[in-house]
Every structure is written in structure tokens, then in C-alpha cells.
């Protein structure tokens, strides 16, 4: 049995021993190094580009927009983002020119001899500025995309409400901060282009390069190298860097390597969308929600890129794991003159999770009610209906995760103990520093739709296959990438389980578009649940073919495959490997492909944006215990207890790793991480000043995996990758609220923000 076991990771040995090859480890004959020359203004136009005459340009390859053979855009949702600016500049660090040279010294020197002059225009740098429309930078109103979803009668709901509670919440940008920065090598050929690099989605790049050079499917080959993390940051952006490298390679007719250093990577590549989210909730005195109106605005940055899809996940998750019969949710994504925001683990959901959970805290406080009780009254359970009108018919672990987290963290007793200790604190007269510290405990409860939103999966029809190799072992053919999360390991477990083989017998083909089919992008918590399912179906087909073959060969109709052997009752006929080899010898090959089909129960209406937004949801609850220094505003997270329903843990250790890693990333979101902007440029684009939590900042974590099987996932599995990043920020803010009485409606909870909030409580009390 392979599923449910903590087998050794498939990619572990190479990574641990340093044998794994990342893109920057590769040097090719005749290769040039590329560099991007970027704008140094947020908005305006290019007046002139001058090249110092004294410099020897003969050794430098220069490409600008005129060198683009196809159209000058990055193929994504809308084709509004130019690959290289022609005239107008819409954000700081926008690519204008590309240069390449045989060594990096020459490259740096050349960069110093290019002078670009601009005419500066007044930039739009915040959500408020964009909505105020003083400058129009997109369409007629600066709005990229709108959604309106809802059900019931909101006015009627508010009329029934005994209390109406309003809240406004603000969430910041967040940088993915994968360890390996973005990088790509482009190798030109005769009517061909090969790209190898760090990426999540080889087929996105495949599509972008085909369009750019008017090449066909076979002429473009995209190969994923060992990738040092992605977190969404290597979903859409690698298409840009690949196109840039390819342009230079095309012009130079030599391979070109383009690798960003950390400063460039943080300055220029997409971040999590910042947002402002307003809630207006009508409740009855007993806590039951009767009306909910939510308005959310995300800052998309300068170009559309993936923003509409992020917004769509945001709007669908905006009400959280709660039931309310009368709901109206308005969502807008606006344009600013900042680098485009894009995919980041969670994809719109962590933003709204902070808002809906803080709103629950606020409602509870205003009703004088326990917030856990409030959650229990309003939570979604099996059979309930969500804001899009989806009835939850399967795999609903909401009660289980809430109960587990609360029990394991001893939440109620601790909450009581802390609230009593606060009321008994006197102004201390001892010399004891500790007297200034206060403890608090807080809870968050959340869900995450697994797979693409709406009809995305039905349209995508993800493909994957299995082929039998010459040695009779199976090899998985899939475009899903390993980015540290465990794709290779879990795929081998799924196949091993299905074919009753040892997992070490299963090989995973390199994600290379000339060798693997399009399994869709490695995003949206879909790799295990969706692609894993397709891999399982392909394995089943291999099995069926071999069973049929063996049955005929041995004239034994009742053959079964058990523990790697074909059996009739208790008698072994032959083992898997032997029969698989024989099949391949006889028929030339054994390859089976399967593609994803949505469960027939699932229905989504794209026009009305209603119905089954996701085939299934993963559920989470998290308890944070914090200690706050009331004089220095230092917040220490003492303990985090997380319970998550992920259907089935194919590899429990990897799943727990996803949960702990995502949780710590969310601790950063809640407490530390903040990009600092100055006139449209990021000024803390260094690891020393964009601060993220390290091991010493990591609290004790307890992780509980709940398994409410999903009938259409492989062995019951659903998504786990993104769910954990939703929980920590609101749980910590709720704990800080209990500890200090200060209600933080904006993250990160930095010392200066906490000081302002605590001072507000103190002045309010004295009034």
C-alpha cells in the first residue's frame, strides 16, 4: 500500500545532495547573458533612448519592441500587457529594452551606457486614487473587472436584522519569495525555440512563445528545470521572462540565459493583490446572520494579467464558510501604476478570509457573544447552500475541523483564563518586565475551493497518461510540475496504489512539452485532486488492458492484480513487470491517456455567476495564542493549532508540510510582510528589509489532518496547497484583540499599527 504512507520524496535525494540542476546551473556553448532595462518612472512616456557613442556596442545584442516578430503582448487573459514598452510607461520597472552579452561585466557596463529620458505623468498609486478617477489609466473608470453575486433579498434581510454591523478591512501586497529567483534559458533553432527554466506551467509558456514567433506545437519545446519554489509567483510571470529570453536568442541566434537577482525579482514580478473589503452584516440578537453585503476592491496593478480570475475567487470566497440567505457581494478590480499583481498561493482567498473572520469577531463583540458560538450558529454544514447557490453535497468537514482545532488548543478554557487574567491586572508596581505582557487566544475558520473556479476544469480537460517503459515499469506523463510541494511523490503513490506496485517502480517523466500532455497549470490546489485523479484513471486503463491481456494469455477469465502479481484466486500467474514487458514487446507500446471530466453533479452558470463554484471545498480552523508586550508592541505567536479537512492525505508528512509552510507564510502576512512604496517603486526589495518569518519566529505548531473523503478525488483527496494560507492572519488578529482590546482591521500588525490601535482603545476607555 503506497497511499497514506510517508514514503521518501521522489526528488529528495537529488535536492539534498546538490545533484538537482536548476536553470542557473546550466551553461551552454556560445550562451549569452541577458538583462532587462526597465523604466524608472511609474507613469509617463519615453522621450528618448540614447546609447553612449563612446561605448563599443558591437559586442552587445539589443532588442526592443520592434524586434518582436508577432504582436507585442504577453498572451494571458487580455492582451494589454506589452512585452516591451513602446512609448507609454505604466509602472515602475516596466521592461523597455533587452540586452545580451557574452559575460556579465560587459552586460553591466553596457547598461550604464544607455540613457532613457521620460516625460512623467501623474501616476495612480492607490485604490482610493483609482476609484476617484482623477487620472484615467484604464477604460473609462480604471476598473479592470466587476462581479456581482448574490441570492435572496438583501433589503428584506436587513429589515429583519436586529443589529447591523459594519467593518472595513485592509490587506497588503505580499511577495511570494520563492528561494530561487525567476530564470530562463532560450535556445533558438531553425524555425524552433526551446525554453528551459524555473516555472509552474510549461504549457503557458508554450502558448506564449508559439504566438510570439508564429511557431507550431512541435516547434516550441518548454522544459521545466528543478524549480526552487513558486507559490504562484511562477504561474504567469515565466511567460514574460521566457519571451524576453527568446527574443534575445532569436536576434542573437545563440542561447540566452536570463536570470533575475533578488532585487529585480521583488521589484518587477507580481505580488498578492492588496485589497479593501467592506462588510455590512445584518444579524439577529441570537447571532444568526440574516443579511450580508460585501464590497471588495482589489488592486490589479498596471495590466489585467490574471486579475479577473483572482477577483473571481475572491468574490466567491468573500462570505467565507458561513450560510446566509440574503447576500449581495460586489467585487471590483482596479488599475494602478504599479507592477501587475498576480497569482500567489490562496489567489484572492486570504484577503477576503481576513475580512470575513475579523467581521465575525466584530459581530461577536458587538453582540456581547462568544465568537466561537457565533461561528457555530452560522457555519456551513453538509446540505447547506453557499453564496453562489451551491448546495454542499459531499466531503464537508466543517464541524470536524472546528471541533478538532478548538479541542486540541484547549481554546475555550484558555480564552476564559486569559480574559480573567486581564480584568485582574492592576497597574504593576513591581520591577518585573513580564507584567507588561498580555496573552490572548483567537480563532479562525475558513474554506478553500479546490481546483479551478466555475467551469474552468470542464473547459481545461486536463490530460495525463501512463506509459509502460521497456523494463515493464510505469512512467507518468503529465505537465504538472514539481515545485517542492510533492507532485512527483504523490503521483507515484497514486499509480503504485492503483497498479499494486511498489512506489519506487513508478517513474515520473520530466515536464517537457515534447514528451508530456497538457495537464493544465500547476496552480489552484488542483494537482493532486484534479490531475492526480486523471493519473489514477490512466493507471486504471493500463490495468484494464493488462488484465485483459493476461486473461487471454492464460485463458483465465477471473484474473486480479494484487501486490504486483496477476492472480487467479490464490495462484500467481505472472508478475506485473513481466506481463507489461511482454505486452510492449508484442504490441510495440502500452500508453494510456485520460482526461478530466467534471463530476456530473456539478453545474455552473457563467452568465449569472451562480451554481457550483467548485466541485468541493477544503475546510480549516486555526487557533492562535499570542503574547503581546503592551509597551513595545511586540507580538509573539506562542502556538498555532490547525485542523484541516483535505479529503485524504496521500502523503501525510507532505500534507502536514504544506499546512505548516502555508501557515507560517500567513504569519508573515499577518505580522511582518509589507512592501514599502515610494512614488510607485518598491524600496525594500531586499531580503534584509522585506522581512518574513524565519525558524525563530515560527511558533509551536500542531497540525491535525481531517479526512472527509471526496468521492471524485484520487482515494478521496482534495486540495491542500492553498487552504492553510487563509487561516493564520485572522486568528492572530483575533488573539491580539483578546489580549489588548485593540481591533486591528489592517494587516500586517506592525508595532506602529498596534500602538495606534492600543492608544485608540485607551482614549476610548477614558472618554
Amino acid at each position: 500500500m503506497a497511499v497514506g504512507k510517508n514514503i521518501l520524496r521522489k526528488d529528495g535525494y537529488e535536492k539534498l545532495t546538490g545533484a538537482a540542476r536548476y536553470v542557473d546551473d546550466v551553461t551552454l556553448e556560445g550562451m549569452l547573458y541577458g538583462k532587462t532595462i526597465r523604466s524608472r518612472i511609474a507613469r509617463g512616456r519615453i522621450k528618448s533612448i540614447a546609447y553612449d557613442a563612446a561605448f563599443d556596442w558591437s559586442q552587445i545584442v539589443i532588442a526592443d519592441y520592434r524586434d518582436i516578430p508577432g504582436k507585442n503582448y504577453v498572451a494571458l487573459i487580455e492582451d494589454d500587457q506589452p512585452l516591451l514598452a513602446e512609448n507609454e510607461i505604466r509602472h515602475y520597472a516596466e521592461p523597455i529594452l533587452l540586452i545580451a552579452a557574452a559575460n556579465k561585466d560587459l552586460l553591466e557596463a553596457a547598461a550604464h551606457h544607455i540613457h532613457i529620458e521620460y516625460e512623467q505623468w501623474s501616476p495612480v498609486l492607490s485604490i482610493e486614487d483609482a476609484l476617484a478617477c482623477r487620472e484615467i489609466i484604464y477604460g473609462t473608470d480604471n476598473i479592470f473587472k466587476r462581479f456581482l453575486i448574490g441570492r435572496g433579498d438583501v433589503e428584506e434581510g436587513f429589515a429583519q436584522a436586529e443589529r447591523i454591523i459594519e467593518g472595513e478591512y485592509r490587506v497588503p501586497h505580499q511577495e511570494q519569495l520563492y528561494i530561487e529567483p525567476q530564470g530562463m534559458i532560450a535556445i533558438p533553432g531553425n524555425e524552433a525555440m526551446t525554453l528551459m527554466g524555473s516555472m509552474q506551467c510549461p504549457y503557458y509558456i508554450h502558448k506564449a512563445i508559439k504566438q510570439l514567433f508564429h511557431l507550431n506545437d512541435e516547434q516550441v519545446v518548454v522544459i521545466q528545470m528543478t524549480t526552487g519554489g513558486g507559490f504562484g509567483g511562477k504561474e504567469e510571470y515565466p511567460s514574460v521572462i521566457a519571451a524576453h529570453a527568446a527574443l534575445l536568442a532569436h536576434k542573437a541566434q545563440r542561447p540566452v540565459k536570463l536570470i533575475y537577482d533578488r532585487a529585480e525579482d521583488i521589484a518587477a514580478t507580481p505580488k498578492r493583490h492588496p485589497g479593501v473589503i467592506r462588510h455590512r452584516t445584518g444579524v439577529r440578537r441570537d447571532g444568526r446572520m440574516v443579511a450580508s453585503e460585501i464590497d471588495l476592491v482589489f488592486d490589479g496593478g498596471a495590466y489585467v494579467t490574471l486579475t479577473p480570475v483572482v477577483l473571481s475567487r475572491g468574490v466567491i470566497h468573500a462570505l467565507g464558510p458561513y450560510a446566509c440567505d440574503n447576500v449581495r457581494i460586489q467585487a471590483r478590480a482596479i488599475a494602478t501604476n504599479t507592477p501587475p499583481n498576480g497569482a500567489f498561493r490562496g489567489f484572492g482567498a486570504p484577503q477576503v478570509a481576513f475580512a470575513y473572520e475579523m467581521q465575525m469577531e466584530k459581530i461577536a463583540a458587538e453582540l456581547g457573544m462568544d465568537s466561537l458560538e457565533l461561528r457555530r450558529i452560522n457555519m456551513l454544514r453538509e446540505g447547506d447552500t453557499t453564496a453562489t447557490g451551491q448546495t454542499l453535497i459531499w466531503s464537508v468537514g466543517s464541524e470536524e475541523v472546528l471541533n478538532e482545532a478548538v479541542e486540541r488548543a484547549n481554546y475555550q478554557a484558555q480564552r476564559l483564563a486569559f480574559s480573567q487574567s486581564h480584568s485582574s491586572i492592576q497597574t504593576s508596581t513591581t520591577n518585573h518586565v513580564e507584567a507588561h505582557k498580555r496573552r490572548g487566544i483567537g480563532l479562525s475558520f475558513f474554506l478553500h475551493g479546490a481546483g479551478f473556479t466555475g467551469s474552468g476544469e470542464a473547459k481545461m480537460k486536463a490530460q495525463a497518461g501512463i506509459e509502460i517503459m521497456a523494463n515493464g515499469h510505469p512512467r507518468v506523463l503529465s505537465g504538472s510540475t514539481e515545485i517542492g510541494q510533492g507532485t512527483r511523490t504523490i503521483f507515484s503513490q497514486i499509480v503504485a496504489e492503483e497498479l499494486s506496485l511498489d512506489f519506487s517502480a513508478v517513474e515520473i517523466e520530466e515536464p517537457d512539452t515534447s514528451r508530456v500532455p497538457d495537464s493544465g497549470p500547476t496552480v489552484a490546489s488542483r494537482t493532486c485532486m484534479v490531475v492526480g485523479r486523471v493519473v489514477q484513471m490512466a493507471a486504471r486503463e493500463v490495468k484494464a488492458k493488462l488484465l485483459h491481456f493476461v486473461a487471454e494469455r492464460f485463458a483465465a477469465p477471473e484474473v486480479e492484480l494484487r501486490e504486483g502479481k496477476f492472480m487467479v484466486a490464490e495462484k500467481a500467474l505472472a508478475d506485473f513487470q513481466e506481463m507489461a514487458c511482454e505486452y510492449v514487446n508484442l504490441f510495440g507500446e502500452l500508453r494510456c491517456f485520460a482526461h478530466y471530466a467534471s463530476p456530473p453533479e456539478i453545474e455552473w452558470n457563467e452568465e449569472t455567476y451562480s451554481g457550483d463554484a467548485y466541485p468541493v471545498y477544503s475546510w480549516g480552523a486555526e487557533v492562535a495564542e499570542v503574547e503581546v508586550d503592551m509597551d513595545t508592541y511586540e507580538v509573539t505567536v506562542v502556538r498555532l493549532t490547525t485542523a484541516q479537512d483535505i479529503g485524504r492525505a496521500i502523503h501525510p508528512l507532505l500534507a502536514a508540510g504544506q499546512i505548516e509552510g502555508g501557515t507560517l507564510q500567513a504569519v508573515g502576512y499577518g505580522l511582518l510582510e509589507e512592501l514599502v512604496w515610494d512614488q510607485g517603486r518598491i524600496i525594500n526589495n531586499r531580503l534584509t528589509n522585506y522581512i518574513i518569518p524565519t525558524a525563530l519566529d515560527a511558533p509551536d505548531m500542531e497540525t491535525i489532518i481531517v479526512e472527509k473523503a471526496y468521492p471524485h478525488g484520487p482515494f478521496g483527496a482534495k486540495g491542500v496547497g492553498e487552504l492553510p494560507i487563509n487561516g493564520a492572519a485572522p486568528a492572530i488578529a483575533a488573539a491580539v484583540f483578546q489580549a489588548t482590546g485593540a481591533f486591528l482591521s489592517e494587516i500586517p500588525i506592525t508595532p506602529e499599527r498596534l500602538q495606534a490601535a492600543i492608544e485608540k482603545v485607551t482614549t476610548d476607555e477614558h472618554r
Binding site: 561585466d105 520591577n431 515610494d678 531586499r686 534584509t688 528589509n689 522581512i691 524565519t694
Partner: protein
């Protein structure tokens, strides 16, 4: 990083000859934990690196309880922490050194490098010059994001804070630095070593381009009580928001003499004679320590976004005093 020449002299005389007459010619390389990142980011672009790690006489800690300490400039942060006499006699220095995490930085970073490390001001680190100015010369810090910038000594052009946590502790201990250069040997009080530059081409410390810090001399302290208190946003791989180091000479619970120095609040380590005056002659209590903290920030002036640091500095001074009086252990 630009190409550079690399020299590895074995004596300080050779080293000084290899250093140039201007800052653009050469830089001293000790542990490299700061210098290399400055070079990668093109903030400093020396033509030559003079590695001083092969100069034996710049290493080692020596001295007796009577004579005080001589700490070689190349002594690493970890060596400081491991030295048997440190913890008992120089608690404030040990506590400051302990704040410098990670182990890698403690093992590579030297005391000389800690004192000469360049400011962390993000405008400076993003390429806008030491004083953080637009190409037009317009200063960026006053209207920009100055949440970590100076609250004291901030009436001049320099608004960054001195990044060293060891400097305040050493100044509180009345340490001196020995400097060797083309013109020979000189010695200055560490308190006078740091300066607030008025132009972007100056340095934040009193060194000529062809001078080296060779050692730090710390007077005997066995009978004083000392402590450093740090306020931090994050536990590792980050600088403190504020620190205070205090050295108290006490009779019973009464302070006879005090030296109180704040870190990360001003362009130089900030000695607060106001806080010293407030605590001298008093018995240490919550109230007197608080009063000293208040006195320390009496003249503080917030920029647009760093008002909260005034409170942090006040609390750091108060807690450092209480900690020192208690005997230095938390």
C-alpha cells in the same frame, strides 16, 4: 557585482598601503557579511578589496579584570559570546551580540565590521545615496517611508539610524578604538568615532579611506552592572527597532554613575546624558527607571511615520536600567 582586484596582506602596514586615498579605490574586507551585499547591489563599487583576515595581530581577545579588555577588530561576534569573561563582566555587550542572529552571521561577522557596517536605510540600500536623495537632490526620507528612521539627532541631512547594536554597549562601557593608517596609529573614544554626515560622500565614522580599525579597548567593568535591552519586530535576520545599553555603578540600590546609550534611534549611537542625569543619585525602581526613559526621549522628534519609536526608546531605556540593576539576567 563589478569586477575587482583582491589583495590579502598579512600585516597592517601592507594593508594600509593597499588602501587608497579615496573611498572609491578600495574597501576593507573583514567577514564580508555587509560589504558583499553592498557590492552586489552596486551601492559600493571598490576597485580593490583588501582582505584583512590574514592579519594575525587584528584577532584575539586579551586582558585581565584589572586592565580591561583588548578586542581585536577581527574577533567574530561568536568569539565574543564564547569568551569566558564576557558574560559575567560585560553583560551589555553579550546581550547586544546575542541579538545578532543567525549563527552564520555571528560566525562570519566581526566586531570591527559591526562598528563599520553601513546604514540599513532602505533608500540608501536601494541606490539613492547615503542620505537618500532623488537625482534632483531632493531628500526622500522626510516625506517617504521613514518608519525605521531617526527620532533623535535628526535635524541635519542624515536621517538614517546607526545600525550597530554593539556600538551602544561599547560606548556605554566607555570603550576606545585604535586606528592604524598611513599616518600611523591613533586612538579615539568610540563615542567620538561616529559622526552624522552632512553630504552623501562622507562616511558615518571617523576613518580615512586608508585607515583601519585595529582593536577596541574596553576599560575594566567588573564592579559595574550593565545590560542591553532590544525591541525587535522579528527574532532572526533582522536589526532591532531600538536598543538601549546601560552601565551603572551602584552602591546598594543607588546609582552612583551611569552611562546610557541608545541604538537605532539616531544617525550615530545616541548617548543620553539626560537619562543618565535622571537616574544618578536615585535608587533604581520602576518609577525612576521610567523617569530616565522619559528623559531619554525628551528631545526626540518624530518624522512622519516613526512616532512609535519614541515610546520604544523610552521603554528600552527603562527596561535596560531595571535589567542591569537586577544583575543583568532576565
Amino acid at each position: 557585482m563589478n569586477a575587482f582586484e583582491y589583495a590579502s596582506p598579512t600585516t597592517k602596514e601592507q594593508a594600509v598601503k593597499l588602501l587608497g586615498n579615496s573611498w572609491t579605490e578600495a574597501e576593507v574586507l573583514a567577514g564580508g557579511t555587509d560589504l558583499l551585499s553592498l557590492m552586489k547591489d552596486h551601492i559600493v563599487e571598490p576597485k580593490r578589496l583588501v582582505n584583512i583576515k590574514s592579519i594575525k595581530e587584528l584577532g584575539g581577545i586579551a586582558g585581565t579584570a584589572k586592565s580591561g579588555l583588548r578586542i581585536g577588530a577581527l574577533v567574530t561576534i561568536q568569539e565574543l559570546l564564547d569568551h569566558p569573561r564576557m558574560r559575567k563582566e560585560y553583560a551589555a555587550l553579550v546581550q547586544a551580540a546575542e541579538g545578532i542572529s543567525s549563527p552564520q552571521i555571528r560566525n562570519m561577522g566581526t566586531i570591527g565590521g559591526d562598528l563599520c557596517q553601513r546604514p540599513r536605510c532602505w533608500y540608501y540600500r536601494a541606490g539613492f545615496g547615503l542620505l537618500g536623495t532623488q537625482e534632483s537632490g531632493e531628500p526622500l526620507v522626510p516625506n517617504g517611508d521613514n518608519r525605521y528612521h531617526a527620532i533623535l539627532g535628526n535635524s541635519g541631512a542624515a536621517l538614517f539610524v546607526n545600525p550597530s547594536s554593539l556600538a551602544p554597549a561599547l560606548i556605554a562601557m566607555n570603550a576606545r578604538v585604535k586606528i592604524y593608517g598611513a599616518k600611523g596609529q591613533r586612538e579615539v573614544a568610540l563615542e567620538k568615532f561616529f559622526t552624522a554626515p552632512t553630504t552623501g560622500s562622507q562616511r558615518e565614522y571617523d576613518l580615512q579611506p586608508n585607515e583601519l580599525v585595529t582593536e577596541i579597548i574596553v576599560p575594566p567593568l567588573a564592579r559595574a552592572k550593565s545590560a542591553t535591552y532590544e525591541v525587535r519586530q522579528k527574532e532572526a535576520l533582522d536589526w532591532p527597532l531600538t536598543t538601549a545599553s546601560v552601565v551603572l555603578t551602584m552602591t546598594g540600590n543607588t546609582v552612583k554613575a551611569a552611562r546610557i546609550v541608545l541604538g537605532h534611534v539616531a544617525p550615530t549611537p545616541w548617548r543620553s546624558t539626560e537619562a543618565e542625569a535622571a537616574i544618578v543619585g536615585k535608587a533604581v525602581s520602576e518609577a525612576t527607571a521610567e523617569a530616565a526613559g522619559k528623559a531619554a526621549v525628551e528631545k526626540a522628534k518624530a518624522l512622519s511615520k516613526n512616532g512609535y519609536k519614541i515610546q520604544l526608546a523610552k521603554v528600552a531605556v527603562k527596561r535596560a536600567i531595571l535589567l542591569a540593576a537586577k544583575g543583568g539576567t532576565r
